[in-house]
Symmetry: C2
Subunit: 426 residues, 2 copies
């Protein structure tokens, strides 16, 4: 029979791909902890109504995997984490000590057309600071993003974090005479700007009720790169970013508005600097979400970063690390049946001594076994055949150099440690 195919848009992580993901996770963890954030995780399944409340129509109606469970209730595979975070905090919001600094890295699902940079199953880093509403809190979250980029080798020439503010945008739309109940629609129009051509953009703008004067006014707004200077919340934000040493990564951009409905203040997205249309990460301030989901009012700010686009940007900038799965320290071949038991005892002994030991699980020609060990990247082989057992010795072969020496069995741990030392110094 032919192989059963995987589900479209899902990913298989073979060991070298998993090693890359672990590398990314390790950097995410290190940066998150450097700023005092604690790791948490939400469920992967949530009731659809959790998202229906605030996530925005497109995400819920068009992009979520939704199904009835056996009890008939509508369940969603989580398309984002912030509503789960809000639910978890709403449940305990009275007893939680504030500020709350939490981060997470886990899987998410969206029903999108699979293409470069998008998969239906993907991983996301989420990080949030809750319990305080200040431009400095917003700045810290953006500085965390910049610190992560720096840590993985992406410079301020490679990536830009673009910031805007929904309260500023509301003021600007008020001035254009756009009624407040239409602002959300205009935000969605702005969010689609890079996806539409001039004509489509104009048609969309007319459809949501903007007249030509308002459309021209909106164009002017989106080209005004200095509006932030008259807006205290953004001035204080950029001051704090400068104080935390991340100015080079961060700039004002009136086109950034975010598609999700729940943002209330500063919003931001990171792009690679050569102008891809898809954001590496995006986030902002959401001061009403926890109360909307049933908790005490709890202001928050945070962002989410997907793993797929980040990997593409690392490739593009030529800084993706060359990783392989972590090899063992010592390889133990299987010589013949008579010596196999002693080889297994030796392997167990070396493991007790703290070494990583891989044993070849069948009798085969030694060159074949050494070739396997070399392909795995294992530096040393310890050989215990019938002759060595007879003489109470072991042979140690350095697979990096080909050198082989014979030593007393009792010295094996000591000698292996000596031979590995230069490796550990690398």
């Amino acid at each position: 029979m032919s192989a059963i195919a995987p589900v479209k848009g899902t990913r298989d992580f073979y060991p070298n791909q998993k090693a890359f993901q672990r590398w990314m996770y390790d950097h995410i963890r290190a940066v998150s902890e450097k700023f005092g954030y604690q790791e948490y995780e939400g469920p992967f399944l949530e009731r659809l109504e959790l998202y229906a409340a605030k996530s925005g129509e497109e995400l819920v109606q068009e992009q979520s995997f939704v199904f009835p469970d056996r009890g008939g209730e509508m369940i969603a595979l989580r398309p984002e984490l912030t509503p789960s975070l809000a639910r978890m905090l709403a449940t305990r919001s009275k007893s939680m000590i504030r500020p709350i600094r939490w981060w997470s890295f886990g899987p998410f699902w969206r029903y999108e057309r699979p293409q470069k940079g998008r998969s239906r199953e993907f991983f996301q880093w989420n990080i949030d600071l809750l319990g305080v509403d200040s431009p400095q809190a917003d700045a810290e979250i953006v500085v965390v993003a910049a610190a992560f980029f720096k840590a993985i080798g992406l410079t301020a020439k490679d990536v830009r974090i673009k910031v805007n503010n929904r309260r500023l945008a509301d003021q600007q739309l008020d001035k254009l005479g756009v009624p407040p109940e239409r602002h959300q629609q205009v935000f969605r129009l702005i969010d689609r700007r890079s996806k539409l051509n001039a004509k489509e953009w104009n048609t969309y703008a007319e459809e949501i009720g903007l007249d030509q004067e308002q459309i021209v006014g909106l164009e002017d707004l989106l080209n005004n790169s200095v509006a932030w200077r008259e807006f205290d919340e953004l001035k204080d934000f950029f001051d704090a970013v400068e104080q935390m040493g991340a100015s080079e990564y961060v700039e004002y951009d009136p086109i950034v508005i975010r598609g999700l409905d729940y943002y209330t203040g500063n919003v931001f997205e990171a792009y690679d600097a050569v102008g891809e249309e898809r954001a590496i990460l995006g986030g902002g301030r959401y001061d009403d979400l926890v109360a909307d989901i049933g908790g005490e009012p709890l202001p928050g700010v945070g962002f989410a970063m997907g793993d797929v686009v980040t990997g593409i940007v690392l490739d593009k900038c030529g800084v993706r690390p060359d990783l392989r799965a972590n090899p063992a320290d010592v390889f133990i071949p299987t010589f013949d049946e008579s010596s196999r038991g002693e080889a297994l005892r030796l392997a167990a002994e070396l493991r007790v001594a703290g070494l990583k030991v891989e044993w070849f699980p069948e009798i085969a020609r030694l060159p074949k076994q050494f070739k396997y060990a070399d392909q795995q990247g294992i530096p040393l082989a310890v050989i215990l055949g019938p002759d060595e057992i007879e003489l109470d010795q072991v042979a140690i072969k350095d697979l990096r150099t080909g050198t082989q020496t014979t030593i007393p069995r009792s010295k094996v741990i000591e000698r292996v440690r000596e031979l590995l030392e230069p490796r550990n110094e690398l």
Copy 2:
């Protein structure tokens, strides 16, 4: 409004719960790597037909979350990993170097009645050795399980790994005159033994066509604890377990047979020693699965361990570690608006020096801020108020002792490192 409830059988991981999960993951990783296994991950969604092939009716028909995707295809939230592993290997089986030693830790879903030890969303450690069919390979996998138990503090008095062999069971059923096509049904009967009372058991046995003589014969088999001595595959297996130093954890038990259809040789389950009915982990040899899913024939052996039951056993044995989320090294309070910028600069400077630094993101009474830092478990506070800025000094408060000293600003990194040193030695 009242809070939106989570989906029944899902779990929220607040930071202290996530810290426990990370502790378990860290041990799983260390033990897996100690035996030379490489980390991988499969997709969370698979086509239903992948499981329909070999996983067994109960798992697929009754326990899986299944839904049609937007294209109408039937998709399952993975209830187990082995079929995905087989699919991944089937795709590349010609080019893979053997043996293949892989492990994984990730989420799974089963539609079970939520109760102690069962949740609908759970995590599983999967570990497999493929490309070789030998009792020694089976023994290695079982020794990995024993090494994990030892590492997390569960002794051979706390947990037992019980082993049986399907080829031996086939021979035994042949002798009872049970036709080969009924063996799978008898295996399912044996697998349910602990869940049924004597009468239910007898009724089930009759339903699948056993006569009274066969039922009595089967009872005898299930009480015979020495049958392994006449069966080479199990004798070699127990020899290898002894050679690898794990005999105390491992014993023969004819009642262990496993519910899944794809096992072909040795099978095993671990239980806590006071006789819980639910297995901590289970696995066995599956020599036909990769070929059945469309690849080259590739024999394999492996097991899966759930996180929920393992946690319960740790509790029961009184060895669950007392974990808290990893706190920052240094706390920086916010004194007033005039000094806030300098405090942010100081935080950034300490982070560049490699320290984990949490900053209090709003102006509040200092005792309140120190109380927060103490609750977080942060050992040191570095204070930079208007007076300190004026004098180019900082105050360092040791939150463990209450001692506060004032030092020149330029000495801060050096002094913080000194004060943290005894902590790092703990």
